[in-house]
Each structure stands twice: as structure tokens, then as C-alpha cells.
Amino acid sequence: MSLTKHINILDYTLLSLLRRKFRNAGIILVFSLVICITGSVLLLTYAFKREAVLVLGNVPELIVQKMTAGRHELIPVSLGEEISRIPGVSGVEPRYWGYYFDSFTKANYTVVTPGGRLSEGNKLLQGRLPSAEEKGVAAIGGGIARTRFLGIDDDLALFSPDGKLRNFRVVGIFQAPSELLTFDLIVIGKGDLQELFSLPPGIATDLVVGVRNETEAPVIARKIRERIPDSRPILRREIIRTYDAVFSWRSGLILTLFAGALAAFAILAWDKATGLSADERREIGILKALGWETSDILEMKFWEGVAISLTSFFLGILAAYAHIFFFDAALFAPALKGWSVIYPRFHLVPFIDPYQIATLLSLTVIPYIASTIIPSWKAAVTDPDEVVRG
């Protein structure tokens, strides 16, 4: 009996909503859009953060840069000996890398040297990685292969600062799934990089410091600062924190940009939900006169709030999922990627935090239902004759 009554009230509520279908459809459309945008930002930043933290989980524990006149400067490799004498340091290795501006395509590439070998089973590299000692060969990111129309065994021509053209035979191309990491990379041997950038011997871009006990890294960083005052140690946790901060900042910024739209919708929803129209008041009065209890009226309004907010939530969150993970965040990506000649085609791993979805649900559905019920309760407890007459 009671279940049938609830079903009947829901049925009547839907009929009532359908009588004002254009108005309610408009609210559902805007509500869904707001949830879609907010949900997209939450899904995108969470997926980015998780992927960045996972992928960069094994980056060097400590990197030491040299600072000159407040800017990053090339570092003498000999400083590594001094650093390696600090207790707790397991080893110091120079890291050679730099940027190459490609005048053919007007794009900037990142040139690095390998610090080891990839395992045989690594499927993200077609071909192989050059060793640090090899000369005249390169592995390139997918962005460079596409921009310069290169394949395996093709020649990659790069200019060194003296204007000479140097050819590198492409022996490896990083595959599409790794573009978030390797898109603009050129991996060449150490000797080649030194020649390409005319680096003097005994000079590296920065130093990678191995630490025996990870918890001692901040202490070692402090000791390096004390012994080499013009150095800048960068801890792994700072690198991870940078990405956490960058994506939190970006999500906050996007949400701030949409804050106006969110506020406009909140006002619209509040106005619609809290202020009953004359028709709605009359409807409540008639229902009361027909014998509906106050609790029935409240239930009807509850179902009305549920129907609108839940429909909007489902439409919004499903659209957000499709936007981020099926269409690769097509709406946000241009702003996030910035201005460049080459753009990575990232396809995010769908890391989802159910807590975020639950929070979004509770912040959208529950307030809407609450704001619908309260004014209806006021009308429902008033004498029907008074309500109908206005």
C-alpha cells in the first residue's frame, strides 16, 4: 500500500514537471552543464596528478643545479667529488640535457642523454635507445617524428651553435602512449650532446645525487647548500609537490573562471527552488483541498527535487567522464597545453577518486532538494483556501 502511494506521488510529480517541460528542461540543461564542467575539472586534475606522481615516482632523489646571477647555470662535474664526500651520498652522476630550437619547424625540443638501458620488454619504444657512449644515433619522441616526418633509420638533422649540420640516424621512436613523457625528447649519446651544444669538457647541466637513505635527503640537500652556496638542490618530493601544486592551481583557476557561471546558476536554482510561482502555490492549495496531507506535498516536492537534480547529476557526470577520458579533455586541453608548435596527444589513464564524485553529488543534489522542500513546506502548512486565493 505504502509503496504504491509513493509510486503514485512520484508519477504525479513527473506529470506536474512535464506540464512545465520547457522550463524544467532548461534547468536540467544548465544544471547538467555546471556539473559537467565541475566534474571535468575534478576528473582531469585528479587523473593528471595521479599519472604524474606515478610516472615521476622514480625520478632522481636529489638534483643539484648551479646558480649564477639568479639563474640556472651549467655545473662543473668536479663538484660531484665534493658532494660524494658528504655522508649518506651513494653516488653523484652528471646529467647532460638542454633545449634545441628547431628553426625548420619553429618548435623547441628537449635533448637528453640516457642514464641507463631500457629493459627488453619495454613496449613504449619502437627500436632501441642509444647508449651514452654511442655517436651519430638518436631516439626521438612521437612529436618530433610527426613534425619532421621521420621513421626508423631516417636521418635527423640538427644544427650545432657553430652552424654545422649534424645528422643522427633515428634508431628508436617513443610510442604514442608515452607522449606525456617523451613527446619532445631527443635522446643522444653524451659525446653527441656535448658537440651539439658545444659544451666544454668537465661541464654538465646538473648533477644527480644518489642517497642511501631517502629520509636523509633533506639533510644532504642542506649540507650541499652549506658546502656549495651557489647550488640549488631539488628534492624528488619537491618535484612531485610541484605537479601537485601546478594541477591544483590549474583546477582552481578553471573553476574560478567558471565561478561566474556557477554563481549565476546558483542564483537561478535558488530563485526557482525557493520561490514558488503562483501556479505552484495554487497547485499545492488544490491538492490540499482534495485531501493531500502536508507530508504528501513535501514528498511530491522531494521527488521533484530528486528528479531534476539527480537527472542533471547523472547527465553531467557521464558527460564529464566522456569529455575527459573519451575525448581527451578537448575543451580544456588547448588552454592547459599553452602556446606551442607541437602539442602532445595525451590519453589519460582513467584514475578516478570515488570520493570526489560523492562530494560532487552531495554538493549538488542535496542542496537543491533542500531548497525545493522548505518553501513548499511553508505553502503546505497554510490553509488551502488562503493559498488558492493567494
Binding site: 512520484l10 639568479g70 628537449t110 629493459s119 618535484i239 592551481w249 582513467p350
Partner: protein, 105 residues
Amino acid sequence: MNRAFVFLAGAGLCLLALTGLLFRSAATVRQQGNTVRDMTEIAACLRLTDISFSHDARYTRHPSQADLFSAFQDHPGSIEHFPSGSVSAPPDFSGIGTAISAGKR
């Protein structure tokens, strides 16, 4: 009566779709575990410190290696014209102990 059942069925379907997507995500994350592991290996092998996401400036290509301060507002969060730079967070200065005192002691 039909409308109520249609609505409840529709809501149930949406809930099912959402749950399905959550399971799909979990399955995809598991499937792509090898890809993530291979990427982690590449990052470790090449000793990379940053993801290749925004290429418009040094501090957006390698935010973790960027200068703290330099001329022409060349740091994340500064007033400048690259969109990805303006949506990057400023550096974290919380670890830098800078006690500045002014006035008479």
C-alpha cells in the same frame, strides 16, 4: 504509474552506467599498469624530472627545474603572456627561511 517506473528505470540505468564506468576505469588502470610501468622505467632511465605537457617556455616545460626568480617575470605564476605559464602555480617558498625585520630593534 508508467512515468514513475520509466523515471526509476532511467535513474537505475544511469547509476548502472556510472558504476560500469567506475569499474571500466579500474580495469583500464589495471590494464595500463604495464604502460605506466614502462613510462616509469623510461623516466628513471633518462632521469627525467618533468612531464612533456606545455612546451611554450622553459618554466612550463620543466616546472620543477625552473628558476625561482629571474628578470622579466620568468617564473610560474608570474604576469606574462603564455597561457600555460599563467595557470601554473608560483614556486613553493615555504621551505626558505627568510626572516625580515624592519624598524628599530
